[in-house]
Symmetry: C2
Subunit: 421 residues, 2 copies
């Protein structure tokens, strides 16, 4: 039976991601070192604390622990979020807040509540693939904006916006990851953050600000003012802010949140009702208790230290791999190191060679809405140990050297968009 | 700031459900007895078993417990599902299976992968509101089919299909809940199940079969043949089957699953990647261990007994409430008793009166895609104790008697669609 005639137009365009196919193959390669998905380090999870919390919660005294819950989220967790946001400079009221089943759901909700087919969304070049696919599934038109070492290129943003205006196309939203961006690790500079709000007001558009990594700054010189969310200064109500516990507590709890102007938050709630009714009650209570008992506060410095050492290990290994021609901007926080290789290297073509040598990454083209980036790759330093990072970069360098010695013809056609965090 | 110009067409039509607004008010009424949401009984959750399982899982030996997981689901759980489905008569292969974040996500996935604006979906009159809103959010055209005491009316199904065909409109899918339907508690008779497959083949359409309650039969006379899913005899691959652990283990684990022909299952997986990446790993492992350690098997007879007694209590209380003119078909399983009152009663208008007397239900119109059902209501007998059920029906009868003595003018306008399980 042929199911093609049953598919929606959105589904016709959905494609199994090349990366996930690679992932399946990779799982069969023994001893593979993965720099591909942005996984937090499982050694750093607060296992003992969660075991104690779970045991307390499952005593059966509160039936709500295992029951359906309100779509907006578990009320004590929402109240905790108000305090957590306050520390980031965001004064959020409960009617602006909603818990989401991971930040990916927040992106999907934003897409569904805001976007019709053909609506324009601007994204950084490169940008997070999960956002890209969420917006693409709403059949939005995705347009890229260049980046500089201090984040999004404001001149290019104006140029792109002006070009779209001339074409009669309105920009509905700009999607940005200002703190230690996925995939580049870049930090948007302080003056640029205010400028983005001005740009949004001038062009009557929204900003979707995704901030999963803001707490994970490595550099002592980075202050709260440097990672201060754009949302913190959003007096006009143009910013939808997303953040998550996946990178600080654990991804398995699927607990993240959105902050949005009340009329939009109300729409997100109604949309979520029909999407998954509610985020898991047990998960939300685990997260709430982890905040209440100080687990989150204790985790942050530990994680900063851990990931800084891993970042250092990866950078050092790359510096030692002379001859591969790798260039990068040192990430000052987060999970990712973004590598640009010489033009003749195609990282999509390189991938099977790298896999044969026992290392995997995400090819850069999947992060570019304009199909560029064939010579780039995203390396996650978050999940591998220091020894494995050094070993993995060695394997990668060998694969690159091999491909540069015998390069293929033209770059391969654009790869499908992967869905990895 | 006015956000209306930022909303998608789908979002413009989304409305906060009247029931949830009622729910918020209800939460402020002390001692309210709720027959509204289809919540399982928290006293019946296997608290001790979950505490033990959680403690074992959180020992930290397997980092995957708190990590991101594959979009399709935790592999051992998928293998368990193969066995569980086999007992229901369904021979599913792993490439047909996917874990979903609750069955609501399965409904949403079906909507997004199959439906474009204007596509026709048939639903029973009445039908589950969560399905209704999921399909409505895809801007599908929802058409109702009448029911009889043994489920969907096949003559009306043919009449409706023929009328649509004359209008040049193709039916993409029929949504049914064959076992102890939400909201009516009806069981589709055995001959009708085969007839639905023939109907689907004749009209080249799909069937979305939702089966959360199939295990919860009360009546000794009901055999596995009576609750045998339509999917079990689906040689042609026209049925998408959904089921869940929410009603047997606990809703908080947000663990449900879909069975679909492999090409559709592949699309569901890709869609889910951009919707929430994966269902929670910890939740899936809790459910897997609950299956492996026999918790699920031990729960089923306990739950059947518990819910049968509650059904009996509600029926007896209704029988005693002579003079309210209530009619119903005895539900032989599941969570719900569907009441039809005399025509002059409008259950939407009745609701505030009932609330004032300390009892709440879901007004029936929200379950009808054609706006009928003003004199019907859904009563969930699953969550209240025997005493509270008797007391609650007494309160309800008093409210009905009061409204019948002083009926309002015409029925109120159609209520917004609620999102409760």
């Amino acid at each position: 039976m042929n199911y093609d005639t049953f598919l929606s137009r959105a589904a016709e365009k959905m494609q199994q991601s090349a990366i996930r196919q690679m992932g399946t193959v990779a799982a069969q390669v023994p001893d593979i070192i993965s720099f591909a998905p942005g996984y937090p380090s499982p050694d750093a999870f607060a296992w003992d604390a969660y075991r104690e919390i779970a045991s307390d919660l499952l005593g059966g005294r509160d039936g709500g622990v295992l029951q359906y819950g309100p779509t907006r989220g578990y009320k004590p967790l929402l109240e905790t979020l108000v305090g957590l946001l306050e520390r980031r400079g965001i004064a959020a009221t409960p009617d602006q807040l909603m818990v989401t089943t991971g930040s990916q759901q927040g992106l999907d909700l934003a897409a569904r509540v805001l976007l019709d087919p053909g609506d324009v969304v601007l994204l950084e070049l490169p940008s997070y693939t999960g956002a890209l696919t969420a917006f693409a599934n709403a059949q939005a038109s995705l347009v890229g904006v260049r980046q500089q070492p201090d984040g999004i290129d404001l001149d290019d943003l104006e140029t792109v916006t002006a070009r779209l205006a001339r074409e009669g196309r309105r920009v509905k939203a700009l999607y940005v990851v200002p703190n230690f961006q996925n995939p580049t690790g870049l930090l948007i500079g302080r003056p640029k953050r205010g400028a983005l709000l001005e740009w949004a007001a001038r062009h009557d558009t929204l900003v979707i600000e995704d901030d999963p990594y803001g707490e994970l700054a490595f550099d002592e010189a980075i202050t709260a003012a440097d990672t201060r969310p754009i949302k913190a200064d959003d007096a006009a109500g143009r910013v939808i802010y997303l953040s998550s516990f996946s990178k600080t507590l654990a991804p398995a709890f699927r607990s993240a949140w959105m902050v949005a102007p009340p009329p939009l938050a109300a729409k997100f709630e109604v949309a979520k009702q029909a999407i998954d009714l509610c985020t898991g009650s047990f998960d939300q209570r685990l997260v709430y208790e982890a905040c209440r008992r100080g687990v989150l506060d204790r985790q942050i410095p530990t994680l900063r230290d851990l990931y800084r050492r891993r970042r250092d290990a990866m950078e050092n290994a790359l510096k030692c791999a002379t001859g591969i021609g790798a260039r990068w901007v040192t990430p000052r926080g987060g999970f990712f190191l973004w590598v640009t290789l010489p033009d003749e290297v195609d990282t999509t073509r390189l991938l099977p060679h790298a896999m044969r040598r026992g290392v995997i990454y995400v090819a850069g083209r999947a992060f570019h809405v304009d199909g560029t980036g064939h010579q780039t790759m995203r390396l996650a330093f978050s999940a591998a140990t220091l020894e494995r990072i050094a070993e993995g970069i060695g394997r990668l360098a060998a694969a690159i050297t091999e491909q540069r010695a015998a390069p293929g013809p033209a770059p391969a056609p654009a790869a499908a968009i992967p869905a990895v965090p």
